[in-house]
Symmetry: C2
Subunit: 652 residues, 2 copies
């Protein structure tokens, strides 16, 4: 965590100084906004937290409910989501309070007494092998609390406008704020009042029955199966020994998916209620809780549940639906999109793979920086076309995966030939439910793979998988990727060739170039902004950290910035040798010993892999997705050498 950069900070460093529209944020929802987010679920709240990092963008988030969510339905948190929380600054806190999935156990009928269940397999959770982040269970309401805090503590100081209902919208062809949104105040002094708000962009994060989706004429394709499940969050006493372990239970009497919840006592139980008659007309949704509990006891036989409190319960039929496009533009419209759909508004499915909240958050993460870039003039509006193009296929994959998983979960024992099949499927597909299978195709923001061989471990279009390196300035082993926060900046990692710092090398040439007026850094960073305002450039040497002479490291990796012109010491890292304090990141990620440049998007996806010598290709890449901010620029603000302020003393 870096702070004190603009002078001494006494309080919580997680609270950024207010800036831009955050300095004097109107308490009332104004008539004109840059971005109007409809709905404060996981996608909407992440989007708000992200846009709070762009304080020159006026963002508001409206929510029909009159306050904070009290009971959330989603609870599964993929490692990729924890990685995302890390970027937003609250991973360590949510990990401390969540249930950490260590094992998933499988139960089936006892061959000798088929009416009883026995444990058939224990499998260590996939998260242990796939990521440095855990696989968690925690109430959606708490996830929203943390994003709300991040939104409120960002320089944009964003807080939800509760008690405001979306009624409809129209996209006009002209005007600075072309989206006209009808809303109704449902709480507070203006309750009952209807009015219009004009926005440059609207994000529909308003759930499965999305009004925004309906307003832009998109339809949810798919349907509901004829199979019902009861779900309950319960506090119980039981003799079932795996009550605190995630379990798939496949009994003669039906199926249970058991998910222990945070806090050591609560569990979520999905109880198979079986097939639903074709003419049921959703009558099954009124199944009383006592009946769900009774069914759960039948399935768990010979074990029994003594339910002490039901915190929440529901009955649902599994549905699988996905929207064809996630924005308001059709091919040939000849304009960039103005309205976007995220989360349940464009993909709904069963809850049992624990995917929904996670994929929704990645929708928000994908969209947030793009809106920020376009609205601050860093990128052209066409950048926004990549949102639907990237996220719609992910949603389709999710639906396909979930359909398979939920039908596997709902089988009868006699339909199962191999008792280990479910466990095998669970482990074999681990990368998908962990959230790491997403790979965006080539586009203006994902380069071609001509040089992928230089960095096999950083596949283009997949999220940048962090590796441990040693920070040269202080010898701390840190995760390179964890230094990258959700601040809307691009990351450029220069992995050095073999020569040491200060010697002639491809890296040294690259460093001279990146600091020159010809580089995309100079070209795409706004006049007057800090040299690292848009691009965070870091170097990783192959040597041991104590063999890197900081005094000889190129100036590009020791930039000065901020009002005090202070040197940033945290741009220089060392990778080697393997096993000495950490793994060798070059070996671990298959990086060329001749060096390689890896470009990572603000949402953590790998955008380009290039040789150190490919400066022209790097220039072309950014020319394809960012707008020039100036024709020529000084290589480095010369703050540290030319201006030498007298020491200022802050009175104590």
């Amino acid at each position: 965590m870096q702070f004190h950069h603009h002078g001494y900070v006494s309080g919580d460093p997680r609270v950024a100084p207010a800036a831009g529209v955050g300095l004097d944020r109107p308490a009332e929802l104004p008539d004109e906004v840059d971005v109007l987010i409809v709905g404060s679920g996981p996608a909407g709240m992440l989007l708000a937290a992200q846009l709070s990092q762009f304080p020159d963008v006026a963002t508001r988030i409206i929510e029909r409910r009159d306050g904070r969510l009290v009971l959330g339905q989603a609870d599964g948190i993929q490692p990729r989501s924890v990685e995302t929380f890390q970027a937003f600054g609250f991973a360590e806190r949510i990990v401390a309070e969540a249930y950490n999935i260590a094992y998933m156990n499988f139960w089936g009928p006892d061959p000798e007494h088929p009416g009883d269940i026995v444990r058939t397999a224990r499998t260590e959770d996939y998260a242990f092998k796939i990521s440095e982040f855990p696989h968690l269970i925690v109430n959606q309401a708490r996830v929203l609390d943390y994003f709300a805090e991040a939104a409120a503590h960002g320089p944009g100081r964003i807080a939800p406008d509760y008690g405001v209902e979306f009624l409809g919208l129209a996209v006009h062809e002209t005007g600075e704020y072309p989206v006209e949104v009808r809303i109704r105040h449902t709480a507070g002094p203006r309750a009952g009042e209807e009015r219009s708000v004009r926005a440059r962009y609207v994000a529909g994060c308003d759930g499965a029955r999305s009004g925004v989706r309906e307003a832009i004429g998109r339809t949810h394709v798919g349907g509901v199966s004829l199979h019902a499940w009861g779900v309950m969050d319960v506090l119980v006493n039981t003799d079932f020994p795996d009550w605190r372990t995630k379990c798939a239970i496949n009994a003669e009497a039906g199926n249970i998916l058991l998910i222990p919840r945070e806090g050591g006592y609560l569990c979520r139980v999905y109880v198979d209620l079986g097939a639903v008659a074709e003419d049921d007309a959703h009558h099954v949704r009124h199944t009383p809780i006592d009946q769900v509990i009774r069914r759960a006891n039948e399935i768990l036989h010979p074990y029994a549940l003594d339910v002490r409190q039901v915190a929440w319960h529901s009955v649902y039929e599994v549905g699988h639906r996905v929207t064809d496009r996630f924005d308001d533009v059709d091919p040939g419209d000849g304009r960039a999109p103005r309205v976007f759909l995220t989360g349940d508004a464009c993909h709904t499915h069963s809850a049992k793979a624990g995917q929904g909240m996670n994929v929704s958050m990645q929708d928000g993460f994908n969209l947030g920086w793009k809106l920020g870039h376009v609205l601050t003039g860093l990128a052209p509006a066409s950048l926004l076309e990549t949102y639907s193009a990237e996220r719609q296929p992910v949603a389709q994959q999710l639906i396909d995966f979930d359909r398979e998983w939920s039908s596997l979960m709902a089988r009868k024992p006699e339909e199962i030939s191999d008792p280990a099949e479910l466990a095998t499927f669970y482990l074999g597909t681990a990368e998908f439910p962990s959230g790491f299978m997403t790979q965006y195709g080539a586009s203006a923001i994902v380069g071609d793979d001509a040089h992928q061989a230089l960095a096999e471990g950083f596949p283009l279009g997949k999220r940048f998988k962090s590796a441990e390196v040693t920070r040269v300035c202080d010898g701390n082993v840190i995760h390179l990727g964890h230094h990258a926060r959700a601040d809307g900046r691009w990351r450029i990692y220069a992995f050095a060739d073999a020569p040491a710092a200060g010697e002639a090398s491809a890296l040294a040439d690259w460093a001279d170039w990146i600091a020159s007026p010809a580089s995309p850094l100079a070209r795409c960073t706004p006049e007057g902004a800090d040299v690292d305002a848009v691009f965070d450039v870091k170097v990783v040497y192959q040597q041991r950290f104590d063999e890197v002479d900081l005094g000889r490291v190129p100036a590009a990796f020791r930039p000065t910035s901020g009002p005090l012109g202070l040197t940033d010491w945290e741009k220089v890292y060392a990778a080697g040798p393997d096993g000495w304090r950490a793994a060798d990141a070059f070996a671990e990620r298959g990086l060329s010993r001749d060096g390689v440049v890896v470009v990572v998007r603000p949402d953590q996806y790998v955008a380009a892999v290039l040789p150190l010598t490919a400066t022209e290709e790097l220039t072309d890449f950014f020319a394809g997705c960012l707008l020039p901010q100036r024709e020529a620029a000084p290589a480095q603000p010369p703050a540290s050498t030319t201006s030498r302020p007298v020491a200022r003393v802050i009175p104590t």
Copy 2:
């Protein structure tokens, strides 16, 4: 983290439900309180956070300053303090924002150009070897913020009374509230008003010029040396390559101790100002900051500092003082103490070993639970005599250590025969500055060492060094000691003998006994309280976690409690085998394979080590420090078998 235990919790689980005096805490300082804490520094704030866990004790903390501390002077955080923060629930947050000391480097004169300095040694910080917790640097003001949050979120809902100055006190011989304290309001509507507050106990946490110390007639023994240091927190640019590494610099021009601070930019610099004339009369304290910076530049030659901002600075002469007793009782007084001294009020020394704040916090941790126990009737007032008896020798050791360290730091190069001596001293004494050398002698709360051989790794009187174990209910590897929070409870760890759960064993016999009306658990737990309200009893088996059949684990380790009579699943652990997911705690801590009972105090110090068969000794131990609450008691509340409430549904 355990919650939902009394029903579903929607919000931040770190905020405990208010209870006792926390339910309706008066905004104004009342005329009568149980505990009056004078001063809101590290000792006082920890004490407040601890007593917030005893909501039946009316505790107030007064502070002359009119609000939160803005700039603190202390910044060194021992691993033992981070361990303490863990118990108070904020370690992961403070670690995320602090500077983590990985290395300490040493610099001395270049043999060829003695006016220049060169690096003479790099030493990996001791914290890596000595604890699972890091060695941090973070502003005292932030430490106080976190303790303030813990105090406010505890059931007692304690917040400092700012703007209240201590004037004096008198201890009367009679009355329920025998300590009469004179105070003056220095801020707010009552500013200027003087009044009396009566307290049962007073803790003087009011710093080096303690008014409480003076009021009880204790004197600070020791003096000030004739050697001055300048200290400054500065934001600089520099070519000194180790600016972000802790360094001891021993130059011809003098000495510097360099401590990088949190946030990546700020550093604390202690600059040797040399000997002070005998007739100086503290004139040196007025040394201007420019002169301190000039001296720093002379020492760092050939490197240079370009100071951009001075956040704080001071000049001091090293002093070493310790108070002879830390309470208001002299031998033969025939009464228990009523007034206590903590922190700088009873021990002052140089800042450079980074000890002061740490030792002060341990003073508070030692005293807090004792006051809580006595004031809730769990323990006799004589327990309070152990505070001074235990903490005064620790302070004396601290003064001795610091005197040696600070004189080593202040030597001239020609006084140093072995350049590695300082590094050797630093590493060789690591256990002390880490905070783990403290060992309390035998007393009513530290048993005799007759059976120490059964648990060599848990020395009596030293703090319980946590070990990793696997939680049986869910397969998570966790640190056994981290489950113990600063909640004022005693921990009893039953390390099992070899037989498996359910088989005849010494452990099974012990479990029957501890759950019987004859046990100290039954005898010392108040009527109507939860079975684990005073004692948290856990078991650690020698088997793999997946070989422990939870259904056969004795009921003593699966207690039910709370209004819903819910089973606690987090009392049963497994240690083996070594290297499978974790180390074998039996091997790692030298525990007898015949089993052993380890009793740990609420402040985490090992109180007793006994064989599983020594039930009489365990009874005697607790009879010596706790008061009987009842003559006979049921072994276990029979909640889960006899009362079976109908499922209650919380409306959503």
